[in-house]
Amino acid sequence: MTFDEFKAAVIGAAKGLGLEEYELYYMEESSQSVTAFQGDIDEFSSEVAGGATFRCKINGKMGYCSTEDFSEEEAARIVERAVKNASTIESADESDIFAGSPSYESIQEEETVLSGMADMSKLALDLYEASLRQDEKVQKNSTASVSQGTTVIRLVNSAGLDLSSKSTMQLAMQSAIVRQGDEQFNSYERANGPLKEIDIDQTASKAVSKAIDKISGSPVPTGTYPIVFDNSCFASLLAAFSGIFSAKNAQQGMSLLTGKEGQQVASDVVTLVDDPFYKGNQTAFDGEGVATRKKNLIENGTFTTLLYNLMTAKKAGVESTGNGSRASYDAPVEIAPFNFYLVPGEKEAEALYQDACRDGDGFALLITELGGLHAGLNPITGDFSLLASGYRLEDGKKGTYVNGITVSGNFYELLKNIVEVASDLDFGFPRGFTRIGSPSLYAGKLSVAGK
């Protein structure tokens, strides 16, 4: 059955049980991708996935149930399960079925026109061939892939709210493998769509040159060094620690930002923003139907607000910041930012290299990749110790490649020690509705383990 038929069956079942407060959240994702390998299109994939979550509030408790099976019997089953689950919830924290915001931002983003399989295959092959042309060290087991997808959301509830949205994405990715003697080195470069605007040669060249740089890689001696993080690298670290800005973590004692509003938590060059309307990833309503809005979380070093959904806002006696998030159709309502980024400064990244070297007797490190972000850091304490690689900075100039080192520190301390922020803001790949960005920044001195 279609979603509308399923919706009618679910609402019928909910009314049949006398439920007064309920919601149905639906997400449909369709995507296609192709991969070029050894001169041919080697993998095709396509996906059509639709799922829905029913939730209802009974005696102040919210019960959930999700499914991908849109049938009459399943509609009745998920309503019954959600009622049963509500009766098991013990927490006194109350959420609401939301009646709607006074107004919603109208999203003016131009919709990406999706490509056919033939165009996607041609782009993947062109990118693959372009990478082989860059250097004779590039191996035929390099790959290039192109993918696209559409996400449709529908939120319908007993308070009369009926919201929908549609978004599309396209991207190309070149993974380059180079060989020197018996050893192979790899790197990748991603180009966010629209596909027709992707610069094939530039994408291929960036992937290959990064892989070639790695051939000469070696560790530096263990010690303390001035550290510059490049933009995408710091964005990945910020993403790994983004949970500390969640009011839920703060209320449960899992964030050291609890109660720090109005206090200096970062150096005064740090302004951290969540902007749901930033170009390329615009969202008008959150996972609970609350209108989204732009806000600063840190303003010139001063902590201004956590991110709230309805439940945590009610508990704290504030308004939701419109950050109720559902990572997938079947995920409970959590908290996440939309376009979350450090506001860029004025200087070119290269100017930061000079300042860092000045503090390190002419020597510093530029970190361009971090590994083990899911394991080598502790969001509760802020401690991190991560596999890292990048470049030596000598007298302000980018030098040879550094690998086989770890960089360690504490994220809360790092925020306070940031010396300078460059102008080169860049965003990482979106995960769900969240995209995290940063410019390159000079973080002061950090501890490095190496040879």
Binding site: I41, D42, F44, S45, S46, E47, V48, A49, G50, Y64, C65, S66, T67, E68, D69, E74, A82, N85, S87, T88, I89, E90, S91, D93, Q139, N141, I177, E183, Q184, N186, T222, Q252, G253, M254, L256, P332, G371, G372, A375, G376, L377, N378, I380, T381, D383, F384, S385, L387, N403, G404, I405, T406, V407, S408, G409, L446, S447, V448, A449, K451
Partner: protein, 460 residues
């Protein structure tokens, strides 16, 4: 059966009609439930059904994968046609004759999770929470989560195979946070098995709660680990993650068949110290990473990967088998029907050695004792791995000394394996979730205590 035999034959026929030489249907109906207790009360219940089909075609080493959650006849036929069209224009569809097979189920389930009342599950969570809180006044927060999965799969392919399997797993995870007012540290414990709720008679919620709390409190009183190269003794159980990352992933056909592994072309060669024997065993009864059949319908196997330091086998799935010209080893796995299967580990461990654990630690003048490991990752192309140490201590003059926090171990698989110079006899395993191309799947890691003569420790 999730789909009728006639419809399966028809779908496979459509799949072959544009020139594929192999077609496969993977249908799934999975119920998953996860209850979370935070701060003493049940906070949320996620209760979901996954239902859909993954349809795969192979033509030589080319693969096409299409998946849909629409199990209506038209939804399935559209899915099969879209896959076939990626290979060429549709020809006349034949009819594939299927022969049902039933593989033995060696993973008995005594208490099926869906038969257990929610209130009884909540009671288990309260027991875990209470024991974590009771461990110390310094425990300021604890979270307990109980997960159960009832996965029903059907596999039909153009070789005529039709088979089904039901896979039930349960897991309890406890996280505890210790605080002294200005600093927080966390600890965790997460036992799981391919078992029903009888698991919690063997691994009680109290054991898990207390272990998570003990780890958090220990780390609260620890200084920072030093940075540099040193000898490391890695304890049994989750310590096996070192083999999983440093070597296991690089032995998967996903990397080997495409020339992206440091261990390509090394079969029969010495890649590890001669005392190292490593095994991947998907057949262990009731183990977290076990299955009767893999997600391609092959029976799982016990496979010796390394014997006395010599590389004996790779982990090979169906597509890898075509690329490598070697037989598949029953390791084609996927998170769910949205993913194309690929070669994955199941229960992977370094076999027990002959050395005495106490004697190994006694032999170290200075080094790190990694009592409990966290997660890690690897780049199979270069073999560079990293993993976090959750609970560590310094070793001084042959004795375990003060606890240290924030240690990370890094290195290159091919360089670390020859440096494993002592292996004790206390083999044990622990549960993890392994992420790769075909999604996140349950795997066991294991080993006895081992000594690595030198490894880079990230600290400060």
């Amino acid at each position: 059966m999730i789909l009728s035999q006639n419809l399966l034959s028809e779908l496979l026929g459509i799949g072959l009609s544009s020139g594929a030489d192999f077609a496969e249907v993977f249908a799934e109906n999975t119920l998953e439930s996860q209850m979370t207790l935070t701060g003493g009360s049940v906070e949320s219940i996620a209760d979901r059904r996954l239902s859909g089909m993954g349809f795969r075609l192979l033509k030589g080493t080319k693969s096409v994968y299409a998946s849909t959650s629409d199990l209506s006849r038209s939804g399935l036929i559209n899915c099969a046609k879209s896959a076939a069209q990626a290979l060429g224009s549709l020809g006349e569809a034949g009819h594939v004759v299927l022969h049902e097979r039933v593989f033995p189920d060696i993973h008995g389930i005594r208490i099926v999770p869906s038969t257990v009342d929610a209130a009884d599950k909540a009671a288990l969570l309260h027991r875990a929470y209470d024991s974590a809180k009771a461990y110390s006044k310094e425990i300021v927060q604890a979270q307990a989560r109980i997960l159960d999965i009832d996965r029903n799969i059907l596999i039909a392919n153009s070789e005529g195979l039709l088979t089904q399997d039901r896979q039930i797993r349960t897991r309890l995870s406890v996280n505890a946070v210790a605080s002294n007012g200005s600093e927080n540290q966390s600890g965790s414990c997460a036992p799981g098995a391919r078992m029903g709720m009888e698991l919690y008679e063997l691994k009680t919620p109290e054991m898990a709660g207390e272990e998570a709390a003990r780890q958090a409190v220990t780390m609260l009183h620890a200084g920072y680990a030093p940075a540099g190269n040193m000898a490391v003794a890695i304890e049994n159980g989750f310590g096996g993650v070192i083999f999983h990352e440093a070597c296991g992933h690089s032995l998967e056909a996903t990397s080997v068949a495409t020339g992206r592994s440091q261990f390509c072309g090394k079969l029969g060669q010495q890649i590890a110290s001669p005392i190292v024997t490593a095994i991947d065993d998907g057949t262990e009864p009731n183990s977290w990473g076990s299955n009767n059949i893999d997600d391609e319908g092959h029976p799982t196997q016990k496979l010796v990967l390394i014997e006395n330091g010599i590389l004996k086998n790779y982990l090979i799935d169906r597509l890898g088998s075509r690329r490598m010209g070697m037989p598949a080893t029953g390791c084609g796995r996927r998170q769910n029907y949205h993913y194309e299967p690929t070669s994955r580990m199941s229960n992977t461990y370094i076999a027990a050695g002959k050395d005495d654990r106490e004697e190994i630690i006694g032999s170290m003048d200075y080094g790190l004792y990694a009592a409990a490991m966290g997660g890690g990752s690897v780049n199979p192309v270069t073999g560079e791995f990293n993993f976090a140490v959750r609970e560590a201590y310094m070793i001084r003059d042959g004795k375990i000394a003060e606890p240290v926090r924030g240690a990370t171990l890094i290195g290159k698989g091919s360089e670390i394996l020859p440096k494993i110079d002592r292996i004790s006899s206390n083999l044990d395993s622990a549960q993890g979730m392994c992420g790769s191309k075909s999604g996140s799947i349950p795997t066991n890691v294991g080993q006895p205590l081992i000594r690595v003569s030198s490894i880079t420790v990230g600290g400060r």
